[in-house]
């Protein structure tokens, strides 16, 4: 068995630029920090109260006793709010030099922006850049930072904010509700198809930083939206914390796809709550790729509340040295004729650990509902570990649930077959790993698929033919 890592281990985004701050809260968290964030943002009274209420929940909730080991998190060792620039830039040129340089290095070149319907860039705690095609804006599409959303569209925000993920849902959702800053606010009016994806980039630059973005997406009846997010951070010896909350409402006949390419550096705790409500005949899709971070705990969920609603989850997790990817998905069927599928692929190498943790729930009344879950795991070397924890709770007789999981190494027979066709071992292994993750990668938008292929590129210095 080759000891080469199957996924390149060198992290390209580990650089940092000098810290830039206009306003930074003290280290640690307390009611004063929450108040200060709210004051700084000049928020309405209801939001200030919402934050304070959430903070109480956060303090009272224990850490989850299942999943990854989170006891090493010291909540007083992070900065919870850092404002890098005064005003969100509308043109790329208006951005300060070091921030622009950062995004250039990550690879958000001009041509790529032209491939997108809109782009938002979050740096530390605030959205520093935002754009949206004029054509989409004219159709009534809203795409801006969550803070701008709260200022400019307070009625819509107040109506939906916190309705999908309640403040006391879990400890990290409560923390996010207390100190949230940045994130995206998207509103797609009825019947509007946003053909090109809207994209958001999240970057943590400062050390010991906590990023708590909050995203709210509302897709009105018959609309379509594809939202893509990417995340990176520098490598520090101290830890950073990322605890986002994403709420999505997919109304009748609409379709939303949410793509994440999470590539945080190996010192980031990534503890995220993502959920969508899918109404009648609507379709919601999560495409979730977890490559980076120290510990990830993330279980995007679909609540299928209307008849014929469809939920889909495609998940890819890669864990290397010192990483634990505890990811999965939840499908909760409330209505008749709802369907869902989950496909999860995971690769553990170099002593990394991947866990698939999922839930399928069929509530009484989910007549003829169907769900299928397939989880495949690949363990590359002897130090690595893979777990699968799928749970199924079925209260409806006329529902059908199927689950399949397999864990294995690269098959000797597959290798033998390819080698007997004249491929050397390394090439054959590369081909098998690429084939293994293909079902998820082929769904990625072009520029990410290219990036992923580069990342999954094998070290070709092994045995020769």
């Amino acid at each position: 068995m080759s000891k080469n890592p199957f996924v390149a281990q060198n992290y390209r985004y580990g650089f940092s630029v000098p810290e830039r701050s206009l306003c930074k809260t003290r280290i640690g968290i307390g009611e004063d920090v929450v108040e200060q964030i709210s004051r700084q943002k000049k928020e309405p009274e209801w939001m200030r109260e919402y934050r304070l209420k959430s903070f109480v929940y956060f303090q009272n909730r224990p850490l989850p006793r299942w999943g990854a080991d989170l006891t090493s998190i010291d909540f007083d060792a992070f900065y919870y709010y850092l404002k890098p620039i005064e005003e969100r830039a509308r043109r790329w040129e208006e951005l300060p030099e070091e921030i622009k340089k950062t995004y250039d290095l990550i690879g958000i070149p001009e041509y790529e922006k032209k491939q997108l319907g809109g782009l938002s860039a979050q740096y530390e705690s605030e959205v520093v850049y935002g754009s949206l095609q004029a054509r989409l804006a004219a159709q009534g599409v809203i795409f801006c930072g969550m803070d701008a959303g709260l200022r400019e569209y307070p009625e819509i925000v107040k109506q939906y904010f916190g309705t999908i993920v309640p403040v006391n849902d879990n400890k990290f959702a409560a923390l996010n509700s207390a100190v949230w800053s940045g994130g995206s606010f998207i509103y797609v009016p009825a019947g509007v198809h946003v053909e090109l994806p809207l994209q958001a980039y999240f970057r943590i630059n400062a050390a010991r930083m906590g990023q708590f973005e909050r995203t709210l997406i509302i897709a009105e009846e018959g609309s379509f939206l594809h939202y893509v997010e990417g995340c990176t951070a520098p490598i520090y010896s101290t830890d950073s914390l990322h605890a986002a909350v994403v709420e999505i409402i997919v109304k009748k006949g609409a379709r939303v796809r949410y793509t994440t390419v999470q590539n945080w550096s190996n010192n980031v705790y990534n503890l995220v709550t993502k959920r969508m409500r899918i109404e009648e005949e609507a379709s919601g899709e999560w495409l979730d790729c977890n490559l980076g971070s120290k510990i990830t705990m993330k279980y995007p969920s679909c609540f299928l509340t209307g008849p014929h609603a469809h939920g889909e989850m495609l998940s890819l997790a890669v864990a290397g040295r010192g990483q634990h990817q505890d990811a999965g998905g939840k499908m909760i069927h409330y209505a008749p004729d709802t369907t869902s599928t989950v496909v999860s692929k995971s690769v553990s190498q170099y002593g990394g650990r991947t866990s698939y943790r999922g839930l399928i729930k069929m509530k009484k009344g989910a007549l003829r509902a169907r769900s299928k879950v397939v989880c495949d795991a690949l363990i590359v070397d002897e130090q690595s570990r893979s777990d699968t924890y799928p749970e199924m709770n079925i209260d409806e007789r006329q529902a059908t649930v199927e689950h399949e999981a397999s864990v294995s190494k690269i098959g000797e027979e597959q290798l033998f077959y390819l080698q007997s066709r004249g491929l050397d071992k390394t090439t054959a292994e590369a081909m098998i790993v690429n084939g293994f993750i293909e079902p998820v990668v082929k769904e990625l938008p072009m520029e990410y698929a290219v990036e992923m292929n580069r990342l999954i590129s094998l070290q070709m210095d092994g045995s020769v033919g």
């Binding site: 795991a377 363990i379 893979s386 006329q398 059908t400 649930v401 864990v407 190494k409």
Partner: protein, 207 residues
């Protein structure tokens, strides 16, 4: 190589059962019946070449029955195979927790787990919760679970051949349990195993 078959009627068994399978031993365990409460069945494969096969024919009418199984591989080249099939009528509630753990030194091991559930009444509830913890890489581990009910078409086919509905249901359940029985090798098979199946089939109500 010695093979053994152990019958475990859930109503009469201890709450926790542990079976340790020795080197080059083949152990077959058949669970059947249904009872209120929680049963834990643990199989330790701690010696090289050990083989364990756990099969279950669970037929529930009333009450909450919870079964946990644990297939623990701690030696190399061990194999475990699990197939638990459940049919629920009336108001039965069934919970299944199936755990597989393959330790780092247990290379060359194979572990299989399959749980299939059929519900024949709207009042039944089923929860199945497998967990696979794999610490070795040279292994093969698969898991599968299904929950559902027989198709209307299955009934229609049999009824169009002149069967009344309850008779058709019985035949479908018999067929459903058949591959549980087939897991038991011929030399260990006894008439009593067939009697268990027939007794369970008798409990399907005439509608």
């Amino acid at each position: 190589m010695s093979s053994t078959l152990t019958l475990i009627p859930l109503e009469q068994s201890e709450d926790t059962l542990t079976s340790t399978v020795c080197a080059d031993e083949k152990s077959y365990i058949l669970l059947y019946g249904f009872c209120e409460g929680r049963k834990m069945i643990r199989v330790n494969l701690a010696q090289e070449g050990a083989y364990a096969c756990i099969v279950g024919m669970i037929f529930g009418q009333r009450g909450l029955c919870s079964i946990s199984t644990f297939q623990h591989h701690s030696a190399s080249y061990t194999t475990s195979d699990l197939l638990i099939k459940t049919v629920l009528v009336d108001s039965a509630v069934f919970q299944y927790d199936g755990r597989i753990r393959i330790e780092q030194n247990a290379h060359g091991s194979n572990a299989y787990q399959r749980n299939e559930n059929i519900s024949l009444s709207p009042l039944t509830r089923i929860a199945t919760r497998p967990s696979l913890e794999i610490l070795a890489n040279d292994v093969c581990c698969t898991h599968g679970a299904t929950i559902g009910t027989f198709d209307d078409e299955d009934y229609f086919y049999l009824q169009s051949r002149g069967m009344i509905k309850s008779e058709a249901g019985r035949l479908l359940v018999r067929g459903f349990f058949q591959n549980v029985i087939r897991k038991i090798p011929a030399e260990l098979m006894t008439d009593y195993v067939h009697t268990i199946l027939e007794r369970q089939l008798c409990m399907i109500p005439y509608e």
